[in-house]
Symmetry: D2
């Protein structure tokens, strides 16, 4: 369970307090505020704050385009137009702040998205908790044989057993030694900033992460994608549910134009045109490499 | 007057609507929401939305520093510590969205602050209003004789009169021709994206500008400074009043450590040390150039 | 002519100097260095410096110790793979620095691309030159009747004549008054930072602009596009020629996957699949709005 | 030793190749190119590429057509002026690309500097090497008793011995199990992206890191500072040597105004003024907290 009773009580207290504001309120988002949604074995995401809603996207767009947006009569139509034409700045006018608890190896991928504000728990100042990500057996995937960065089937039997034992035992031992090195009362102890180096990448850390909606959607497109590593994808999927309630028009447009869409190259578009004219197009006469052709077939099959 | 009666009515309607939220509320900021504060002859700033308050800065800092912040017992002390030690990320956890109306030549300076989100009124789509900045006579400053980018005394008499007449007449004529080129009903008219090129840099534009508190304070340090151009400084000063009510602890720390503070070079610190020991330090034996010494004297005199 | 004889002599001197370096050299780019390529009536672009080449993109993708070239075939294949899968960071490992002279209204669009470094000629410190963009008659486009931001046919006859006269006369008068306000020798004169506000948006400015290849390609995708305003598109097109010689593999991949490609929504992909199965798909049964359907038809027709 | 004979041979080959270029060349930097300077027990930094020199900073500040050098004296004076007045954009016109090998816990601090381009060795695709940072005995520092993030004296005797044994044994065992989990020929093996989670934070990773000079100096100010963690400070110090040879004027100005300088608050400046007038200023009558006063005394003592 990711939260202690004290933490849950703090969250309940936050959730029960309501105040008046003149600001735009997203009722869909208010329902999520502060609640910790579990992810993996000890992680969670929870929304700490937000700014704006679907109407705020349109309001900002109408500053830009002024009378030019009059023809688009409804907000959903305008949002779809903006998404389709890559007008990203109105989506930047919404902001979200999340509290996330996640394994360090996931944090290392996540932080590569630079356009965000982050405050991470510091292992220089503070002592990390004894919490490690141990995959559920069905996620103990083998290395893919067709893709350098992919996963194959789950390991089974003795091999799975052995892996789980290594992960558990090595984490536990590393943490025991971390604690010993830091020292107990009365002892001097190794500096925390050094002791932490003994801890493996499946230990949990946590941070506040603040990002605008445009950059969040970019993150979700990459990380909620089927090719993303499972352990970050489950965070992205949990965030998708929150965003769908926060800005429903923007999220629906995102699903249609980004998540479910595909970018076709000039060569691929040409193949589509030839196919629609009834021509037989094969990899050999397509102008694509084998890899491209395989991906193109994937798009056509849906 | 910067607002039409319709615009004022819209603002009044926004201000009179209050809803419940679970989010952090800054009462000081709620009082400012949506109100248009006049700047220059036709400009304004008004807060459209905000996220966070002083407590949110501390909350984020305490995620980072965890138990390490226990020793700093109060929020103001913690905020002063963060400001003094250039820990900027907790300040990034607050966000503000402003609607600003400003002359184009001011907008051109402003936009150089890149870490912000902007939606500007588009003169490709829409027709600009006939509103130009004409300086008040006391701000018709002469070119400084000591500083390439500074201002001297205000012009007076005939010279002032002539300047004002040029600015007014040229703006009016440029706008007349802009309108004529765009064409009236029934005419074809030049494309707006071309016609706008006839308009001078004192025409007003407007935008939504969203920025985090850290970057806003950086903007204010540069633009509320005595060396900033008067026409952008008045915007910065108006924003300072709002920020002081939004995050009073952070703003007070900012005034002490940034606005009222000064960075001394290694050489300057050495001079201070020598002076405190009773040594007579002059420009000649200071190791500073004349310009540096003059600035150093300015700091010592306060 | 955009350059004075002194400026041309400085450029010639730079071009004639060659020095030895251990760095990666792009021969295609060396040929362009410093040359000012004219754009519009008084503008230009010229490359001041660059870092990296196609091989450097591959080297970074492989985080390798050596030059990173396995073979030319491999390099082009790798670059195409990176482009297709939106792996943008290796493209960020190349950098270009340009000197650009451009009208202010173009500069105002350009600067919205925030991930770049800019040093603009300062009209606070310095006096701007008497150079204004006056469109060639064939580019005096009328406002589009179907598209709020588009252009229609060129104006002709009296209307074209009148527009040209306004642009020329207003520019000339504004500059005369600018000069008069600044003052001549012996006079005090209005501060430059104020006098500049009288100048219209078709006056030329100039800047140094430095950007990484990933962000440059993003800029070119938007600004070399047929929907971009003509006056910025001609700059983008001129830059495309330079980039094609600098990083030929990356540029070819960019043309195929970005410039000539198209992003289809989930709904559009579904329509393609139905069409390939022989179904008659119309706007009515497509699930698309009229605007989307028109754009989709445009993609299918190529 | 950080490099294999093959890697060293690749580097030697790169260093021995010289080509002609029209670009600005920094002779001081050419001497460093590609050489791997050792840091910690297995790490290094090496310059892969660079753009610009001191003259390029001045050229950008002047937005000039030629090389921008009026005279060496002028250039150094201009650079000092730019640094003193926080004119950061001309420094952004220089760029450096480094190849760095560093422990993961150092990489996690480093990556927080967001304005940079990074390509890291991917443990999803590739297998990490068996290389771990084990501190030299004199760097096995105890936790500071006065400062939550600081270090005290080095541990000695049995405690030091025990710590070293833990770090070595846990690293070795974690890597053995990592290898076993990945599997040998013929076995399926756990996906690399999962197996890596067993590896501790003292394992080495490597990346290409590209940054402009302004942001590099900001990094160096924070990370070459006495309060930075030793393990990142040694990287910063090694980079300082390279930068001093690359852009000697800029680096000297940086040392004077940034590294050796100090920012005094409004309150602190007031105390200096009172002291210079002969007043006895103590913590009690200074208006500063005890912590601030202690830091202020530190500045005055130098």
């Amino acid at each position: 369970m990711p939260l202690s009773p004290e933490q849950q009580a703090e969250i309940d207290a936050q959730r029960s307090t309501r105040q008046e504001t003149r600001r735009v309120v997203s009722e869909g988002m208010e329902a999520h505020l502060y609640t910790a949604y579990p992810v993996l074995d000890h992680g969670f995401i929870r929304v700490i704050d937000y700014m704006g809603d679907d109407a705020a996207i349109c309001q900002a767009a109408r500053v830009s385009y002024g009378r030019g947006t009059k023809s688009v009569t409804n907000d959903e139509g305008l949002i779809r137009y903006l998404m389709r034409h890559w007008h990203s700045t109105p989506f930047e006018m919404c902001e979200i702040k999340l509290h996330v608890k996640l394994p360090v190896f996931v944090a290392r991928q996540w932080i590569r998205h630079r356009t965000a504000n982050v405050n991470e728990y510091s292992a220089r100042y503070s002592i990390l908790d004894r919490e490690f990500y141990i995959p559920a057996p069905e996620h103990l995937a083998a290395q893919s044989v067709v893709n350098n960065q992919g996963r194959g089937e789950a390991l089974t039997g003795d091999e799975a057993q052995r892996v789980l034992e290594y992960l558990k035992a090595d984490s536990a031992r590393a943490y025991d030694h971390y604690e010993e090195m830091i020292g107990q009362e009365g002892q001097q102890g190794l500096a925390r900033e050094l002791a932490r180096m003994n801890l493996p990448a499946n230990i949990y850390t946590q941070w506040y992460w603040k990002v605008d909606l445009h950059n969040l959607l970019h993150f979700l497109r990459l990380r909620a994608d089927a090719h993303a590593q499972y352990e970050i994808r489950v965070y992205a999927e949990e965030m998708c549910k929150v965003v769908a309630d926060w800005v429903p028009f923007a999220f629906r447009a995102f699903e249609d134009y980004r998540m479910g869409g595909a970018t076709l190259s000039s060569t691929a578009l040409d193949c589509v045109r030839r196919m629609l004219k009834g021509e037989e197009v094969t990899q050999e006469n397509s102008g694509m490499s084998k890899g491209e052709w395989r991906e193109f077939q994937g798009v056509l099959e849906g």
